[in-house]
């Protein structure tokens, strides 16, 4: 129904979709003026966009394995770039990143560098070669290149550990947003989020996820950029914030000097709700050691190149050449949001801090701030808090507390933008979390259905049966993720960073050396994957349980330990065991050349 013709008409289809979405925003803005309540606007935004994604998911249903696993390998370069950007940018990027920059400054911005720099590794070391391989999943590559079920199964283990850590955080994020926007309890909202995620992926697999992710990217980028540009223009900071906020950055540094960073006593902090913090670090100065910055960036870069839900997006392009270019487009679309996050943090801070602006609250009387509408709303939602620690009746910098996610969610309201923008931001956050969750759930269930069920357990299974197993696993994984998310045991950002470290520990070197080192063999790869994952996890557990760590490697950078062990064990074990046979060496030679047939057939 939407075969070739749909592919040819992509720019038109998504052009109409974007236009329709903008019209929807305008209608909501008019409805707001006509007296629609904020709550209704929120409900309309989230449910309308989610229904559209579900519709796309239903239209993309399929009964063919190559469409289910790799979207029929016909996703054009630029659209695959958009889908990857949505796949990549999670609830953490959308909701938490600007807040992290707002509170932690330079030390946190290592994530910006790491989460973009990793794409250079993807483009140059892996994506084009894995595309030439013609695999359906990442363990499919490991299993075929190294040979043997043990290597394949080890890759599935690493993939599952990393992706599952990541996906619980994303389902948690969809639940948080759905519960705020739809005004339902979190425990129920998690399953509403899950239902939306499954609607997008169950019937059409990778094909459905691809086309919903493109739609989700369009929503999330509009939702992120519109407030940034609007606020910047509103406060007269410049019509193009990215190039024009230097004065504001300098002004924040000046105000920080004026207000000073007063350290709150432990007794005072005990009265602050959990998870909220005050500004304690300078906005733009270099406040982390080179090693702290670089080690975090390195982990995020290597993790980027090892996370299967990203890598599998490049299996969907029509050719090796388009896979390579598609990585560039992915990073371009990611860059649009990432380069805006520090600008949003700057605008949010200046709006709150500068006494010359109408929105500034630092230096005003506590009673006045507590009477503000937006303060009351967000205080009720447990995202903001003020307290007069020093008893002088005036709000000081160290007396204003906010949750990281409030920087994105509340700034439009603080800066006096109409509520329709807040509704839009909620829809954007939902799109970001859903698109990543889709990719991750699909990565896990594809690995289990294709690699474990079809390749290891039942190689004779027919297509129809394989696809039923794939869908059943998808639902099971989704429910498992939602159940753990409902327990709320970990924060969103922390577990996302762990996922990168897990992926880096177990998969980075086995993937890279699979292409770049012909001598690498199955025992080496298995040792690299398992010892890397085990040592990284052991280090994490040790540091979490009070261990002192070494070389300044923290629980956020344990991937360095895992990857180092992985590299050494992979090389040593490969060299003391027999070299790969001639057929395998020939396979590696073929992978290195773009022309010719893929290693694995179109349907396998």
């Amino acid at each position: 129904m939407i075969k070739g013709k749909f592919i040819d008409n992509l720019p038109k289809v998504y052009g109409i979709y974007t236009g329709g979405f903008l019209v929807f925003i305008i209608i909501m803005a008019i409805a707001e003026q006509a007296g629609m309540t904020a709550k209704m606007i929120g409900i309309f935004f989230v449910s309308f966009t989610v229904l559209i994604y579900a519709l796309i998911g239903w239209l993309s249903r399929t009964l063919q394995t190559d469409a289910y696993y790799v979207a029929g390998r016909q996703v054009p370069t630029v659209f695959n770039g958009m889908a990857t950007a949505a796949d990549w940018m999670s609830g953490a990027s959308f909701v938490a990143m600007a807040g992290g920059i707002y509170f932690k400054g330079y030390g946190y911005m290592a994530l910006l560098v790491g989460w973009t720099g990793g794409y250079v590794l993807v483009a140059s070391l892996l994506a084009p070669y894995l595309r030439k391989f013609g695999c359906y999943t990442v363990p499919d590559f490991i299993g075929t290149r190294y040979g043997g079920n043990l290597a394949r199964f080890s890759a599935v283990i690493v993939l599952t550990v990393a992706s599952f850590t990541y996906v619980t955080a994303q389902i948690n994020a969809t639940g948080t947003i759905a519960s705020v926007a739809l005004d339902i309890p979190f425990e129920i909202a998690v399953y509403v989020g899950l239902a939306s995620i499954l609607m997008c992926s169950m019937l059409g697999g990778m094909r459905a996820v691809t086309w919903t992710q493109v739609a989700q990217y369009i929503v999330l980028i509009i939702a992120y950029l519109l407030p940034v540009f609007w606020i910047s223009n509103n406060i007269g900071a410049g019509f193009f914030p990215h190039f024009m906020l230097a004065d504001e950055v300098a002004r924040i540094a000046e105000l920080e000097g004026q207000f000073g960073f007063v350290k709150n006593s432990a007794a005072d902090l005990a009265t602050v709700p959990k998870g909220l913090s005050a500004i304690t670090k300078a906005h733009s100065s270099v406040n982390a050691t080179p090693w702290a910055f670089i080690s975090l960036a390195v982990c995020m870069m290597a993790g980027t190149a090892s996370l299967p839900h990203v890598m599998m997006r490049y299996f969907t392009t029509p050719s090796v050449r388009t896979a390579r270019r598609s990585v560039g487009w992915s990073l371009f679309f990611i860059f649009l949001l990432y380069s805006s996050a520090p600008m949003l943090a700057t605008l949010s801070k200046i709006s709150l801090m500068d006494p010359n602006l109408a929105t500034g609250i630092i230096g005003k009387s506590i009673a006045e701030v507590q009477a503000l509408d937006w303060y009351q709303n967000w205080n009720q939602a447990k995202l903001m808090f003020v307290s007069d620690f020093n008893g002088n009746g005036t709000l000081e910098l160290n007396e204003f507390f906010m949750k990281g996610s409030a920087v994105v969610l509340a700034t439009p309201e603080i800066a006096g933008l109409p509520y329709v923008i807040s509704g839009l931001v909620a829809a954007g956050g939902m799109a970001a979390a859903m698109s990543t969750a889709d990719g991750l759930v699909l990565a896990i269930s594809n690995a289990l259905s294709h690699d474990v069920y079809y390749k290891i357990i039942n190689p004779k299974a027919e297509t129809a049966k394989r696809l039923i197993v794939a869908r059943v696993l998808l639902v099971l994984i989704g429910f498992a993720g939602a159940t753990i998310a409902a327990l709320e045991i970990q924060g969103i950002l922390g577990s996302v960073i762990w996922a990168f470290d897990f992926a880096m520990s177990g998969l980075f070197f086995p993937l890279v050396l699979g292409v770049w080192w012909k001598r690498a063999n199955a025992p080496g790869a298995v040792a690299g994957m398992l010892l890397g994952l085990i040592s990284g996890t052991a280090y994490l557990v040790w540091v979490r349980s009070g261990g002192s760590g070494f070389l300044g490697i923290t629980q956020l950078t344990f991937g360095i330990v895992g990857a180092a062990v992985s590299l050494v064990s992979m090389i040593v074990v490969s060299l003391i065991t027999a070299a790969p046979d001639a057929a395998t060496q020939k396979m590696v030679d073929d992978v290195r050349v773009p022309s010719g047939k893929t290693i694995l057939g179109k349907q396998h």
Partner: protein, 88 residues
């Protein structure tokens, strides 16, 4: 040396150049974060290190990938290893 070996040698050299540029802007310059911040070079008026973390390094990565893709396509063309219709 066979055609394929020559192709791989060129590909590998391109990889080393790409990774060298990547290293400079993702790791190298941040060894000198504090020093660069004081520099009088201020792109768009931002402090230098701050600008690199917000925009500079990120934009360089985008350009680097497109440059790399273009060069690799030239290498593939040179040895006749570019994909043809029906290869897949």
């Amino acid at each position: 040396m066979s055609k394929q070996e020559q192709h791989w040698e060129k590909t590998r050299n391109l990889l080393f150049i790409t990774l060298a540029i990547w290293f400079v802007f993702s790791i190298g310059i941040f060894l000198f974060g504090a020093e660069m911040q004081e520099s009088s070079i201020r792109p768009f008026g931002y402090p230098l290190t701050y600008w690199f973390t917000c925009q500079g390094s990120l934009a360089i990565f985008v350009i680097l990938i497109f440059w790399f893709a273009g060069r690799q396509e030239k290498i593939d063309d040179e040895f006749g290893f570019t994909e043809r219709e029906g290869d897949q």
